[in-house]
């Protein structure tokens, strides 16, 4: 199973980026073989609109079935839900920390969008 984390760096020690739609990168972690890859999301910043929706699509393309991020807007939430991707929000400072929390079952699934999204 793969999990996508929103990040601005390239390692497990990179800070967890609090934004989903405008996250610069995703760190996609594969739980089955404990490896990860970095997926660039910068082009999304040039999208005329709908960054959250397009980020959701990108996550789905990576084969991830869960997302760990800081905040998730309403459009991204709907899109991820439609693709059956689970959404976890976390205030963890690094990806490694968030991953540990996930493994311990300490991350709770978001029940709805937690920010009033719209472009930002």
């Amino acid at each position: 199973m793969k999990i996508a984390f929103t990040v601005s760096g390239d390692t497990l020690e990179a800070p967890l980026d609090s934004r989903f739609g405008r996250a610069p990168k995703f760190l996609v972690y594969d739980l089955d073989n404990a490896s990860f890859e970095i997926v660039d999301n910068e082009q999304n910043l040039n999208a005329a609109q709908g960054a959250g929706i397009q980020s959701a699509q990108k996550v789905v393309e990576t084969g991830s079935t869960a997302v760990v991020t800081g905040h998730c807007g309403p459009n991204a939430f709907r899109a991820l839900n439609a693709a059956s991707v689970k959404i976890y929000t976390s205030e963890a400072s690094t990806v490694a920390e968030a991953l540990a929390l996930y493994r311990d079952g300490k991350l709770s699934e978001a029940g709805g969008s937690d920010v009033e999204g719209h472009w930002v």
């Binding site: 005329a48 999204g117 930002v120």
Partner: protein, 296 residues
């Protein structure tokens, strides 16, 4: 980190003069001019530009005349009245696309039977990071007749937030656009506090009510300030009462003062004129805003 967004609904109520004064009063805040259509904050804060970035957004269709079969499919498909035809009759007409009317939807590009339509990304303006005497500033310039200012507004805010995070600033002050449409929505969503500046006129009141509906819709705490309140005191009281009913906090009043215009003519924040009555009122308003934002 807190973000204060100053908007007005109606234009010309003194948003930018007030933002500039707050910039001076705040202790090293990051400033963001989100009125990208008619950016004026730089006229007062005299920013020293450190970085410039091109701003691309969306696409525009362009017909390559040498490949065009003159069939008119683009004209039939376009819903935005952006395809122009001149010449006479099928086979002889020249088709062009009005870049101003083109929405960048790509329908004509997709349905052109001879693939004669290009669809390049649009250069819509630029955004900048600058230094001012009162703190760093992000601002932008939208090209003439360009679209998508909401996206540029989002960029200016995002860059301000990055600056604030990187240098541990505790406050961002945003000069917002007039109206209640796309650029305004992009300016206010997720802010800690909106300060709506109005004036005691029928238009000021009407436009403020629309702004308060908008901030309620997006669930953003909102304070209200009546500028030039002494032009019509009865109207000022009525505006404050209505604002309170709508869930906003009346945060202060500013007296009419010609010194505000004089300061603008000199290109200086109004607080540089300490004898100004407006400057005194702004000081009081700032104290109140700090209290409100600390609890929001």
């Amino acid at each position: 980190m807190k973000e204060l967004v100053i908007i007005s609904g109606k234009g010309g109520t003194g948003k930018t003069s007030l933002t500039a004064a707050f910039a001076q009063l705040a202790d090293n805040a990051v400033l963001a001019d989100c009125d990208v259509d008619a950016a004026d904050l730089h006229l007062v804060l005299a920013p020293n530009i450190k970085e410039r970035h091109d701003f691309y957004s969306g696409h525009a269709a362009i017909i390559r005349q040498e490949d065009c079969a003159k069939c008119g499919a683009c004209l039939a498909h376009c819903r935005f009245d952006a395809v122009k035809m001149d010449g006479k009759g099928a086979g002889n007409a020249t088709f062009t696309i009005d870049p101003v009317a083109c929405e960048g939807c790509g329908v004509c590009v997709r349905f052109c039977p001879v693939q004669a339509i290009d669809f390049p990304e649009q250069l819509c303006g630029e955004w900048m990071i600058s230094e001012t005497d009162y703190g760093p500033m992000t601002h932008a310039r939208l090209n003439t007749a360009a679209e998508n200012s909401g996206k540029l507004v989002a960029t200016v805010r995002r860059e301000a937030k990055k600056l604030a995070e990187a240098n541990e600033h505790s406050l961002i002050i945003v000069d917002g656009p007039p109206g209640i449409g796309c650029p305004v929505i992009a300016s206010v969503t997720g802010a800690s506090l909106v300060l709506a500046v109005t004036e005691p006129t029928v238009s000021g009141q009407h436009d403020l009510e629309r702004v308060l509906e908008l901030t309620k819709h997006f669930k953003i705490p909102t304070a209200v300030c009546v500028n030039k309140w002494d032009i019509n005191e009865a109207m000022t009281q009525q505006i404050e009462a209505r604002a309170q009913e709508a869930g906003a906090i009346p945060a202060g009043r500013i007296r009419y003062d010609i010194a505000v215009t004089k300061a603008q003519v000199c290109g200086k924040p109004v607080l540089m004129f300490p004898e100004s009555i407006a400057a005194q009122d702004i000081n009081a308003l700032w104290t109140r805003i700090q209290t409100i934002i600390s609890t929001s």
